[in-house]
Amino acid sequence: MTGDPLFRDGVDLVDIGIMGLKVVVAFGFLLVATMFMVWFERKLISDMQNRIGPNVAGPWGLLQTFADGVKFFFKEDLRPENADPLVFRLAPYVSAVTAFLSFAIVPVGGVFKDVPGDTGTVNIFGRETFLQVADPPIGILLLLAMSSIAVYGIMLAGWSSGSKYPLIGSVRASAQAISYEAALGMSVVAVVILAGTLSTHDIVARQAGGLNTWFLVTSGVVPFIVFLIAATAELNRPPFDLVEAEQELVGGFHTEYSSIRFALFFLAEFMNVITMSAIMVTLFFGGPAGPIFFGLTWFWPTIWFMSKVMVFLFIFVWFRATLPRLRYDQLMDLGWKVLIPLSLFWLMFISLKELRASNDWNWVATYGAAAGGLLLGGTLLVTALRAGDRAYQKDSEDA
């Protein structure tokens, strides 16, 4: 029932061909999108800063990224003397590959109906298939898996450079990624509980009934906000880009990288931005769902999907242009003391809601108990935080 209908009746050459086509198309799409994303960001920021931005290469500077890429490709590949040769080479690929793999689970098109299963298929070469590279039964978990692997890219890059600043940058980055991964995961779980499935395809199908079935609405916005903040932090995007704080850390973990390897990091970062936006759309905004007006029914959903993603791309750039960078302790405080408790509480609340609905529990008793629990937990949390602050102050006075 879950899983791509393509493989339902065994695998033959056509299936493999379609699969290959999907991979190539998705990869190509991502690459091109990344190219334009870079341009988009530079252009948008320059607009916000009242300057012109790239405008020489190609019309409106559209080919600027391409030109940069070519330049990177032909630059000399430097490797610091103290670097660990193997790991130094490995790290950029880890970053890039994980970025691409996460995108594989995003449904980018197909007409969805309000039931999970075989809706949202398109017909290619006479085969029914989903418009997504893969729909593994564990679906959204792949995102979490990949974001945990992505840490390796950063960490190993910083460590293998054999240099101080990259190391500090990478430790910061991985600490940050790990800290926000918990909040990220919990907001995803909130959606999973509501959807009752891990498959991204089915999650989208659940949201096909219109705006009020979007998980943005049914999960009560909070998970989305948590996800957005956490995702920004995961991406090391401003205002959480302490990793690359030039004033403190030069360029962060990739300081020592140059040439094509640097380009790979660069690519990975922007790929990740796109993937995260796509995931957000998938989880909270109904994915490719949207009204279909005329003709080409399979075309409209993709258009909807891309427009939704564009909105988030814009938001990310907007963040960068407007928000000041956080201090490291503020970053950690936000993650551990606000987002995690909040998402945890919200997760419990949603579970309780679902339980009440399925078990027909008394409304007042359920939410009364919830409020009591919240009060108790909140008090404890606040007291604990205060005590922690006190201890911290005392320590710093002693020191």
């Binding site: 660990d84 790991v87 692997i149 190993l156 190391l167």
Partner: protein
């Protein structure tokens, strides 16, 4: 056929990684080799329809546990981490030899049982159905294994206290009181 190839490739990855862990001089390399093994295992899980476990394997093991290793290595500094040594047993090498031979014999034992490795009893705690792996797991987790599940909280509490106790700076910097 495909199964066989997948198995062999993943097994090769696992074993290479495992051997790499114990051969690498640099702890970071060991950790990476460990990740390699973990991925191999995850693939084996997938090929046995244990998708959820495969994901958890990557998220928890590779994403948390090994990262923790790397953290500690970086915290200590690789040189320290590399030169850190501790004698556990008086005759460790001999013990290793005994253990290796013993457990190879054990493996042989298992191979001898190839024909009938398991007795074919099925479905005590919920039959496997690859389409509903997660559901079944959840059901089993909260029925047959609910006690064990709740007990993991005890384990985690202890681990947290332990981590705090061990990693915290002592209140007063008293000198080490070694031995005699």
């Amino acid at each position: 056929m495909v199964d066989t190839i997948v198995f062999l490739v993943a097994a090769a990855i696992c074993l290479t990684g495992a051997v790499g862990v114990i051969l690498a001089r640099n702890p970071v390399h060991s950790a990476l080799m460990l990740v390699m093994t973990l991925f191999g295992i995850a693939v084996q899980f997938v090929s046995q329809e244990a998708h959820f476990l495969a994901a958890v394997q990557v998220i928890v093991y590779a994403g948390a546990i090994v990262v923790l290793f790397l953290f500690v290595i970086m915290l200590l500094g690789v040189d320290t981490a590399q030169n850190l040594e501790i004698g556990i047993l008086p005759a460790q090498k001999w013990a290793a030899l005994c253990f290796g031979v013993g457990s190879l014999a054990l493996t042989g034992y298992i191979i001898m049982a190839v024909d009938n490795p398991v007795t074919g009893r099925t479905g005590l705690s919920g039959a496997i159905d690859d389409t509903a792996n997660v559901r079944l797991l959840a059901r089993s987790l909260f029925s047959n294994y609910v006690y064990a599940f709740e007990l993991t909280s005890l384990l985690l509490v202890i681990a947290v206290i332990g981590a705090v106790v061990l990693a915290r700076k002592p209140a007063k910097e008293l000198p080490d009181e070694a031995g005699r």
